[in-house]
């Protein structure tokens, strides 16, 4: 442990020394860090004056925390260049080879550079925030609570780890500083969007909600660090001089993986698809477990907590039942006519692709969150049904299960495949590059999507339109 920490610190200290001796890094940073809080302070003052004239207390109360968050973000985006060029810069300057030829381990180099990459922006961010808070303290505005400030400091830290860990992944994979800088947009822009989301949380006025953002960003950052360490290999830093996009090779690799050894569709279904499905056993178990937990937890929460918020005397329940009946009557009559089976199929299939895309951005976590949300929704609906006097079992058996047999199977399998793609990305695979891992994982996902998810969703859509709606009308005739 001591040896590992010493080695990491050795790499980090050299980087620190190197950076802080370069006036091209230090001077602009100091200027930006010391200038920006003054600009922000003046802008805040004018905004406060403006809002004082027209009211808007909610915005006023949360304006300072919002500016603190933004002030923390700006130095992070400027200093990202340090992390971006950490490996590719050394490669371009020719200093990486002596370092790689040394007995330093891969993780020592990676974590040493990560440490510098995180510390430098954080120091500048916190310095900027502190200058701003000193300026704010001299004005007649509501100073944020220590609790709120702690949350924002934590969030800034999580942002730093997220941005720097992504930048270092880029630095390892890029072949030139130029390409690394171009790819930096893929770090700054999503984090800027994230910041907008967090701004909504701040203006919403519920401080505790920020914990979700902190936990989410930290989780994502940890996965990125894991991804970086998993795919960091000396060989790739020296073995790739030119990254020509070989579309043919990419296409061939993808198709080969998708089709496997099969010579016909029948053989593909008989031999290849079962192999991929067997590999999904573990993620499928996780997905099933999470679905069960989310559904039950949501059901229990609704049944236990909703009565505390909504008074449900018998006449109110009767009102609800009438409203549900009206609603169902309208919806059931629309099914098949205005919402035909292909539309249902298209919406469901599109959701699976969205799950995958979100999963790709977040190593499975966002896709999984959406899945859990959907399962929780089902639990909540069944809980609601129970509260208004319907049997949740009957509602499930008649309203969900007929098409759900296929739809659940498709959704569970697609989610498990998406989860596997994310897991593959953060799993060390010594013989494959990050690009290869992604390509092969996507081919596996497509296998499942084409072979099972699409047919199952198509069947589910037909059942939902032509069978489920009739079953509902048959079992609950009084809803008509």
């Amino acid at each position: 442990m001591q040896r590992n920490l010493s080695a990491i610190w050795l790499v980090a200290r050299r980087e620190f020394t190197d950076q802080f001796r370069d006036w091209r890094i230090v001077v602009p940073m100091f200027i930006l860090v010391s200038l920006f809080p003054f600009i922000a302070d003046d802008t805040t003052r004018q905004a406060v004056n403006f809002m004082n004239r027209f009211g808007g207390d909610l915005i006023l109360d949360n304006l300072i925390p919002f500016v603190v968050l933004v002030i923390g973000f700006f130095p992070l985006s400027f200093t990202l260049v340090v992390a971006l060029e950490s490996f590719v810069g050394e490669k371009e300057r020719g200093t990486i080879e002596p370092l790689l030829s040394s007995p330093l381990e891969d993780r020592h180099m990676y974590l040493g550079k990560l440490l510098v990459g995180i510390t430098t922006p954080l120091v500048f961010s916190y310095a900027s925030i502190v200058i701003y808070l000193i300026l704010v303290s001299r004005r007649d505005v509501l100073f944020p609570s220590p609790y709120m400030l702690s949350l924002i400091f934590l969030l800034t830290f999580a942002h730093a780890v997220l941005m720097v860990s992504s930048a270092i992944v880029i630095s390892v994979q890029a072949t030139t500083i130029r390409s690394a800088n171009l790819l930096a947009s893929f770090v700054v822009v999503p984090v800027a969007f994230l910041l907008q989301g967090e701004t909504i949380l701040i203006f919403w006025g519920n401080e505790d909600v920020l914990w979700y953002a902190i936990i989410g960003v930290t989780l994502l950052a940890s996965l990125l660090v894991r991804l970086g360490i998993s795919h960091f290999r000396r060989e790739y830093l020296l073995g790739r001089e030119i990254d020509t996009l070989n579309v043919n090779l990419i296409g061939r690799t993808f198709i080969d993986r998708f089709t496997g050894q099969a010579t016909s569709v029948f053989e593909w279904y008989r031999k290849e698809l079962p192999v991929t499905l067997r590999q999904l056993r573990q993620p499928l178990m996780i997905v099933c477990g999470l679905a069960l937990v989310a559904g039950i937890a949501s059901y229990v929460w609704v049944v236990t907590n909703v009565p505390a918020y909504i008074d449900l005397p018998p006449e109110r329940i009767a009102e609800f039942r009438t409203a549900i009946a009206d609603n169902l009557k309208t919806n059931l009559s629309m099914l098949g006519r205005e919402v035909p089976a292909p539309a249902v199929f298209y919406i469901n299939a599109r959701s699976m692709v969205v799950f995958l895309l979100l999963g790709l951005l977040s190593f499975g976590t966002l896709g999984l969150t959406l899945f859990i949300g959907n399962m929780a929704l089902i639990g909540g609906v069944l809980g609601g049904a129970h509260l208004v006097g319907y049997s949740p079992w009957l509602v499930f058996a008649i309203g969900i299960l007929p098409h759900g047999i296929f739809e659940f199977a498709a959704v569970f399998i697609a989610t498990a495949a998406m989860l596997k793609v994310g897991a593959q990305l953060v799993t060390p695979q010594p013989d494959k590059s990050l690009g290869e891992v992604l390509l092969l994982s996507l081919a596996d996902w497509l296998r499942v999507f084409v072979g099972i998810v699409i047919p199952f969703l198509a069947i589910a859509a037909l059942i939902e339109i032509y069978l489920t709606s009739r079953l509902i009308q048959w079992v609950f005739p009084y809803l008509q």
């Binding site: 050795l10 050299r14 020394t17 190197d18 001796r21 370069d22 300057r93 020719g94 200093t95 990486i96 080879e97 002596p98 370092l99 790689l100 030829s101 040394s102 007995p103 330093l104 381990e105 000396r234 060989e235 020296l238 073995g239 790739r240 020509t244 070989n246």
Partner: protein
């Protein structure tokens, strides 16, 4: 010791940068790798330092397998890379101190070793200056000092004297020779044929990833240029007529005042040949081997493999 068998490296684009290299370098020996730019010298060296993993074949360096013990190999090998790789904003002293720490030397050993190397390479006065302020030659010396910092048992040196003035080159060559005498195993990649000739015990010529020739300089000369040539010079014009040549000797060139012979086994045959000449009362003033340089061997090999004409 360095030992490889069928060592090969294929990159993603299906290009074989190194293809079936088999070499064996014993402690106390120097192997010079010769070849054009892009021939596969650097890739071979990178595989020997466990920076690149072989696609095929194996290699053992300092007693360790490159695939199984990469860390041990890196700890026991000193590498001088193609580019000097110095950190420009560090001082020379800090640079060696950093690598001394990387190689796990204790503070006393680091100081002693860096002092010695600064002194040896004649850059002690610049030890406190930033590497960016060093001249090209000084940078190369410092990079070499880095490779020697942990006193490795195996040295892999890529162009060790490039950019150096003649005096410094001599210094480096002397240091390499000294390291050989202390039983280090050394591989040099170089374009400087005179340097290879002066230092190397074995020479390997590599072309498009394949070793075309591998052996001692004498073996290579014999293999590429044929048997040794000896020239007999005469005080005046001499008509050798139908000179009876001993077995294993052929007349290569005939001039008025000299004759050139191609001789298979000089040690055995030369006394007989000199005897035959004196028996014909040839006014012999000298009989010596015609010098053949490594450059001839290299150029002829390259011409042969590329199908071009070789100008001796």
């Amino acid at each position: 010791m360095i030992e490889t068998k069928d060592l090969s490296k294929q990159f993603n684009n299906n290009f074989w940068a190194v293809n079936g290299v088999t070499i064996n370098v014993q402690p106390g020996k120097i192997l010079a790798f010769l070849g054009q730019n892009g021939a596969g010298k650097t890739t071979t060296v990178r595989m020997l330092t466990a920076l690149l993993m072989p696609t095929r074949g194996w290699a053992r360096v300092a007693g360790y397998d490159v695939m199984k013990n990469p860390q041990e190999i890196r700890a026991n090998v000193g590498v001088l890379t193609e580019q000097h790789g110095l950190y420009m904003r560090m001082t020379g002293e800090e640079y060696l101190e950093f690598f001394g720490k990387v190689y796990g030397l204790d503070p006393k050993a680091r100081k002693a070793r860096s002092d010695y190397l600064f002194q040896y390479f004649g850059i002690a006065e610049s030890a406190g200056r930033r590497c960016g302020e060093y001249s090209k030659g000084m940078k190369q010396k410092l990079a070499l000092a880095r490779a020697l910092m942990h006193d490795p048992s195996v040295l892999l040196l890529d162009e060790p004297t490039s950019a150096m003035d003649p005096e410094s080159s001599r210094l480096v060559r002397d240091e390499i020779a000294r390291l050989r005498s202390s039983q280090r195993t050394i591989i040099i990649c170089t374009h400087n044929l005179a340097e290879a000739e002066a230092l190397a015990d074995h020479i390997a010529i590599i072309y498009r990833g394949r070793v075309l020739l591998n052996g001692t300089l004498d073996e290579l000369k014999r293999q590429v240029l044929g048997p040794v040539e000896y020239e007999a010079k005469f005080a005046r014009n001499f008509d050798a007529g139908e000179l009876a040549l001993p077995q294993g000797v052929t007349l290569a060139e005939r001039c008025a005042d000299s004759l050139r012979f191609r001789i298979e086994a000089p040690l055995a045959v030369n006394p007989m040949l000199v005897q035959a000449l004196t028996a014909r009362q040839a006014p012999l003033i000298s009989f010596q081997e015609v010098p053949r340089k490594l450059e001839q061997v290299y150029l002829k090999t390259m011409a042969d493999v590329q199908g071009g004409a070789y100008a001796a």
